[in-house]
Symmetry: C2
Subunit: 372 residues, 2 copies
């Protein structure tokens, strides 16, 4: 994979969780997908109003293609009571790839989110038949009486994941933006139809980083150092730990440098206008979201390198996710090459028209850059 | 304690943990002690530079008395290598009440904090002889390798508290601003020389409230709902749970309405200039601190009432702390009376000269007010 000590080439990177918004903000951020080194964007449907029909998804895709036709946009629908098995079949025929489930009220534009899954079983049956993917925002709403809050909302969701997988074993399910050791262990323990995305920023942050720092605040929130370690470990050592409790009983040579094919990048890159990221008054909390798109591939390379997993880069950002989603690389498509760089500081913001966005790590140094 | 359904009278309230700052900010906030219903202020020494000598503490007290002579200021020294047993004896003779220990780097102006306690044993011996109080900011610094972060920094500190109490059983120790069930349980389990302050805001907040909301961000951070419940329970039910595991073996009538005499209010009211409370750029986190002084007694009454503990108000804000610190109420001193009120909104800020401070719960309704 590495051409020399100072460059690394990656087969067509794919970001399996992106927010491309709408209107002027979309014009600004959609162009950042390729700028960040990615050729595929798996597009979230939580617009205002959410994308709930095939026709809306196709219209949205056309809008995105008009902004940058070189990106392959994989479209999703927002799970809601409006979604029927017939609409699923129509969506599948139209090339819509997945359906995103948001628990009610836990993140940006999730007021219409779901409260219980049983009502959606007919939809999931149709999705299983059509081989569509179910994408889960895996958090339960906070409930003080149950001691549930942003810190344990993800572990509290995992029984729902286990139950869905048991009921629909052929349904491909992705637990999005995992942040806890519990989530990593759960996904490892489930079958090959269950995968997990990991963001770049959750490989960098812990709770200490968003305490008092709105720009690092996102949902799910970054958790304990040990949780971050579990995310790093599954990327670096993946199957080696996943498939055995007893090192003596496996051939480690088979697994030692494999990573884990069911854990791959979904950046959850989520742009918000800068004024919504400041809690300038006591009455309003700031928007939840970290924006990584324009620097994504160099950022992920730098993070993986920081914990000794740079050789897992291609699997994590391309081949594992593409294999799970069955999105092959077009024949003849060139690799994206990164080279080491010094003194490259992440700019404070990107702006166009009335819109601006502030990236993660603004003002910090990146040590990789995309060869233009 | 209650004159009628709509008023409540409290014997001379005492706030056993306050930051009164210096310079113009001190002029503004020191006057808020009495405005908030309090006659005694236990004053923290973390100025720039910190208060490390008797002479500095007496000068600081004189400055505070010049701002509002009606408040009784109880002074403290900042534990540092400069503090000697001789200085402890001098401080005690001069009426200095306590010594505050900050672990290095965990909160505002704690860069000179301590890293290990053994070096201070001669100081603690002198304090024990002089009957001075040791005030502990009970958090260890974050350490990713040990999985320590702001969420478990307090439980990780508790072994230090246990060790200090075992080594100095006659030394009065206060664990400041407890935020966890582990801390409450630990202090309950220790002897009568160990007490614990609880802030008003930690009776209201959980982690969800400061996630993305800088005005609710303080150190220690508010924790899980169950931790908040432990703080509420020890105020409401205190000794009843503290002294027995088996209801059949105690006379509940003795304890049922007692609260817990070793748990009392220390507001940790910590004013910061508004511009330091905003994380307007990705490069700087906001200041840690919640400001409650000007609304403190009505706020505490409202919070205790919210969990059915209004009849514990006098013990929590006055008699328990005064008994532990041996600060009697002056003979003839009038009680402070609160009355119920409707439509009273907490103002957005208090300002004087170039200084302003934004209170906790700005814009929210208070349902008690001090009878002027």
């Amino acid at each position: 994979m590495s051409d020399s000590q100072s460059t690394i080439a990656v087969a067509s990177p794919a970001d399996f969780h992106v927010h491309l918004r709408q209107g002027e903000l979309s014009t600004l951020v959609t162009k950042h997908v390729r700028q960040g080194g990615f050729n595929v964007a798996y597009v979230m449907p939580n617009l205002k109003p959410p994308i709930t029909t095939t026709d809306e998804a196709l219209l949205y895709r056309a809008q995105l293609q008009a902004i940058d036709p070189a990106v392959q946009y994989l479209m999703t629908l927002y799970l809601s009571p409006d979604l029927t098995p017939d609409e699923i079949r129509k969506a599948s025929r139209a090339g819509i790839v997945g359906v995103k489930s948001y628990p009610r009220g836990v993140t940006t534009n999730s007021d219409g989110g779901i409260e219980s899954y049983e009502a959606y079983y007919p939809v999931f049956e149709a999705m299983e038949e059509e081989d569509m993917v179910l994408n889960l925002h895996g958090e339960v709403p906070s409930d003080a009486a149950a001691n549930t809050c942003v810190l344990n909302a993800e572990p509290a969701f995992l029984p729902h994941l286990r139950k869905l997988h048991a009921r629909f074993p052929r349904l491909r399910i992705v637990l999005e933006h995992a942040t806890t050791r519990a989530a990593v262990d759960c996904v490892k323990s489930l079958g090959d139809t269950v995968a997990c995305t990991i963001t770049a920023h959750h490989l960098a942050l812990t709770v200490d980083d968003w305490a008092g720092q709105a720009w690092n605040f996102c949902k799910p929130v970054a958790k304990y150092p040990d949780d971050r370690q579990a995310l790093r470990d599954v990327i670096k050592q993946g199957l080696w730990f996943a498939e055995t409790e007893d090192r003596a009983h496996v051939s480690t040579a088979m697994f030692i440098s494999a990573g884990h094919p069911r854990f791959f990048l979904g950046s959850d890159s989520a742009p918000h206008p800068p004024e919504t990221k400041s809690s300038a008054t006591p009455q309003h909390a700031c928007a939840a979201g970290v924006y990584t798109s324009p620097i994504l591939l160099p950022l992920v390379a730098q993070l993986l390198e920081s914990f000794g997993a740079l050789d897992r880069l291609e699997g994590f950002v391309s081949t594992y996710g593409r294999a799970f989603y069955r999105i092959p690389i077009a024949s003849g498509e060139a690799k994206v090459t990164l080279r080491q760089v010094q003194g490259k500081i992440i700019q404070e913001k990107w702006a166009e028209g009335n819109q601006s966005v502030v990236p993660f790590w603004a003002g910090k140094e990146l040590v990789w850059e995309i060869v233009g």
